[in-house]
Amino acid sequence: MTDQGDRWTAEQVLDLAPDDASRKAGGRLGGAGPWSQIGGSASGSVWGLCKGSGSKPYRTVVDLKGPAYKCSCPSRKFPCKHALGLLLLWSAEGVGEPVEAPEWAAQWLTDRAAKAARPPGERAAPVDEEGARKRAERRAARVGAGVTELEQRLADLLRGGLAGQEQAGYAGWEETAARMVDAQAPGLAARVRELGTIPSCGPGWPARMLEEAALLHLLDRAWLGVAGLPEELAATVRSRVGLPASGEGEAVRDRWLVLAQYDTVSPDGRLTTRRIWLRGLADGRPALVLDFGPPGRPPGLALPVGRVLEAEMRFRPGSAGLRADLGERSAATAPCAEVPAGVSTGAALEAYGEALRQDPWLESWPVVLGPVVPIPGELGWQLADAEGTSALPVPLTGGGRSRGGLWQLAALSGGGPVTVFGECGHRGFTPLTAWQPDSTEPVALS
């Protein structure tokens, strides 16, 4: 509210909806009609009374920094349609000059502020260093046993040959994955599950299966020799296996441009993962912030694509220095005045190759590509350098993205060059955000 330009777009608001029904219901509440006493504070919150079917209107408050929501309605959806409607109203028409929050909104906002101000250590139990070390040792031992068992399983696979895998089915790998969960190595479990799905993936599957099995083997071997690895690589191995990050990473203060934000849902539908890609404007460093949401709820963190926020980013050790946690930040964001400079297709692959030196298990690397021309094709799409004949294939599936975003990209380009941000890896380039030729306004590809 300190900055009227800081409003989200309707799309960004609707992205917060837990399901389609809420999206529609929220949309219907996004007009002034049912609302009264709407207001917003300078520190970034909005509130209002929404007339419902009962005699008492619902009290709805949104803290935009979280964002976090509070509503007196009985809905268990989160955010509820009233919070969505309020945000839509705010995004479309605004709520006027910042004012003091009314009593009912102020109470909740104050509580939140107090909670946030509390030093992080205060709520945690006193540190039991000796106990923690023992727990870590026990876990390392269990992971080690899991790794040894997995190595055995991979050796059996290669000894018997991949040819039988098409008939063998998925159950065997599911069982192995469950053993890895028991061994407290969720990273290995996920890779094993992935491995089990390859034989049903169509032509060329044996080569892909060998590749994935080999990289899994590489991870096993790296774990077994982790004590002898340089610290950065050791941290990468530990995080790939699925251990929580140990130790503090590097903190970088910068102005961060939000390049993309998208959600994927786990195959069992139980967990939504939100990936937010950012780039430091001063030193060009990429950062990936992850947030998670339980069933029916989108993750809490939402950053509007194309905005710049000033913040401290704490990078986790390992994983090619991509994973970061968002630290303290200013409430306001600003629009970005320019389109980030793009690189050629060759340079994009080089950047990915370079990153593999730090993390050989890396699937892709964030790249701003451009100027490039999207080439639709029935068998597959490409992004081709505007100058020259080189191109990157675009995977039609993967990353949880639909083809709709590709058509949007084609529509933006109209056959001409565009700048595109996306993930560049061994499967190709997955476009996430694009800039039209004559605008600095980024378009998040849906």
Partner: protein, 527 residues
């Protein structure tokens, strides 16, 4: 450098070994043990990924033609994105709908307003527009117009959007120049049905007489349902020049084609068919009374008269109705000694024999078919007269059709008068033919009538049809006048329980929908 530098060849060998299994491979090969095979494959996998090179680019699409129209202002673009995202929203069925505005009709209105401003779609929304046009044919012409050349360019690449390339949605650039005879001929011979209909329309617009000529070239080989559709497409812009062609179609193999040809000819008052029908009708009806035809002869049959009446209707009355309906209305003035339509309608023609109703109904159909405003006016009578006592017809559907032949302002004035006299319960169909947004007097009449209905104590959902129409059709400028009606009053003593609160809710929704429409239209104004 070791041997793995040979790269690809060695990788093939590794895959072959992995497929077969190390157990069955005794000759050593690139890797003996499973572990050694995995080691080698791991090195290879990482090397391959790190050393990836771009591919050869395929054929680039032709650049899309430039669309010189401006894009709408930013806020309007965001609104469009929101409306497109919510377009599949369910229409709330019946009962209470709360106070939230009704968004379902806003997309068509947004598109219509954008068309008036001459905007093109923001490029990023073109795919969503094409999807919307695909799902809702009523949106198609305007959605495609907004998508413009960029939309057609995209549609050529995506089979899901092929529909956009068909049909004559004006200025699509897909039809050949009508002066290019060879191209016209080729498309007429080879085109899809919709393309041919569009082509026929374009040819007709350019030169009326060329259309029947084009039709004649293939007429004998067209399927009956296609002949019917082509004939039907002549309805718009029908002129004397079409008469010879239609006359020939009176002898068509298909009964439906014959009937349609006769109907079209009767809408041309100067046509030979209309003349023949006038002769027959004048012989039956005059100042002295009504004598319906005694038989349906071969000539009547050839002119499209249907012999067998529907169940429950007398044969002679059925024939009479068809003759009068197809006769030019201009023929009656002379027959009735120079009287005008209103006076003729008021005559107690053969009232004793009970033919009046039959005759008036036929005149109504004739007035609609011939788009004759003065006869429509006479048949409608004064709006304040009780509907049952109306001169022409008591049927609201027929009255709505008659109204459509009147100029816009007169239509609105008539319906406003009707509502002031009779309330809302019968006005729904009549309101449907009025131009949006409703003219001031009409809007005020509707609002006043709603207010009266509230005071009468019924529930608002008895008027949900009109309320819904009002949300879509009232001039947004009325919102402030309506504000006063949104405050919940105490229930009146005679009212249904809780009605006052429901009415307040319904008016609140009406106001918020109007506000939203006003905001939407304001956003579309060029900056």
């Amino acid at each position: 450098m070791d041997k793995s530098d040979e790269g690809y060849g060695e990788w093939e060998e590794l895959v072959a070994a992995a497929l077969l299994g190390t157990e069955r491979r005794r000759d050593g090969g690139p890797a003996g043990s499973p572990e050694a095979l995995l080691d080698a494959a791991a090195v290879h996998a990482v090397r391959r990924r790190a050393g990836l090179r771009p591919a050869e680019a395929g054929r680039r699409p032709e650049p899309a033609p430039r669309d010189p129209r401006p894009v709408p202002p930013e806020a309007a673009g965001r609104r469009l994105a929101q409306l497109l995202a919510g377009r599949s929203g369910p229409v709330n069925g019946g009962g209470r709908r709360g106070t939230a505005p009704d968004l379902t009709e806003l997309l068509p209105q947004w598109l219509a307003a954008a068309a008036r401003h001459g905007y093109r779609s923001p490029a990023s929304l073109v795919p969503a527009l094409l999807d919307a046009a695909r799902a809702r044919t009523d949106l198609r012409p305007q959605a495609l117009a907004l998508a413009g050349t960029r939309g057609l360019w995209l549609a050529r690449m995506n089979p899901d959007w092929r529909f956009a390339l068909r049909g004559g949605s004006g200025g699509t650039g897909e039809l050949p120049e009508v002066t290019d005879r060879a191209a016209v001929e080729r498309l007429w011979q080879e085109g899809l049905f919709a393309e041919r209909v569009a082509l026929l329309g374009a040819v007709r617009a350019h030169e009326a007489a060329a259309a029947p000529r084009l039709l004649m070239t293939t007429w004998a080989t067209e399927r009956a349902e296609d002949r019917l559709m082509f004939l039907d497409s002549l309805r718009v812009g029908l002129s004397e020049g079409d008469e010879p062609f239609l006359d020939a179609a009176l002898g068509d193999r298909s009964r439906n084609v014959r009937a349609t040809a006769a109907e079209l000819l009767s809408a041309l008052p100067a046509s030979a068919l209309a003349g023949r029908m006038a002769e027959r009708a004048l012989a039956c009806v005059g100042p002295e009374g009504v004598t319906p035809p005694a038989e349906c002869d071969a000539g009547m049959l050839r002119d499209g008269v249907v012999k067998r009446p529907p169940a429950g209707r007398g044969e002679r009355a059925w024939w009479l109705g068809q003759l009068v309906e197809a006769a030019p209305l201009s023929c009656w003035r002379e027959r009735f000694g120079g009287l005008g339509p209103a006076e003729i309608v008021a005559l107690p023609v053969a009232a004793g024999d009970g033919w009046t109703e039959e005759l008036h109904a036929a005149w109504c159909r004739a007035a609609v078919r011939q788009r004759d405003a003065s006869w429509s006016r006479a048949l409608l009578g004064p709006a304040s007269a009780p509907p049952a006592a109306g001169p022409g017809t008591a049927s609201l559907a027929e009255r709505a059709k008659l109204l459509e032949t009147l100029p816009h302002a007169e239509r609105a004035e008539w319906v406003a008068e009707f509502i002031r006299a009779h309330g809302l319960s019968e006005a729904f169909q009549l309101l449907g033919v009025c131009v949006v947004p409703w003219a001031g007097a009409l809007g005020r009449a509707v609002v006043d009538a709603l207010d009266t209905a509230r005071d009468a104590g019924s529930y608002p959902w008895s008027f949900s049809g009109v309320m819904g129409l009002a949300e879509r059709c009232l001039d947004p400028a009325e919102a402030s006048r309506l504000e006063a009606l949104t405050t919940a009053a105490e229930d009146l003593p005679d009212a249904a329980p809780g009605a006052a609160a429901y009415w307040a809710e319904a008016f609140t929704r009406l106001v918020s929908t109007l506000r939203l429409r006003a905001a939407m239209l304001a956003e579309l104004a060029p900056v």
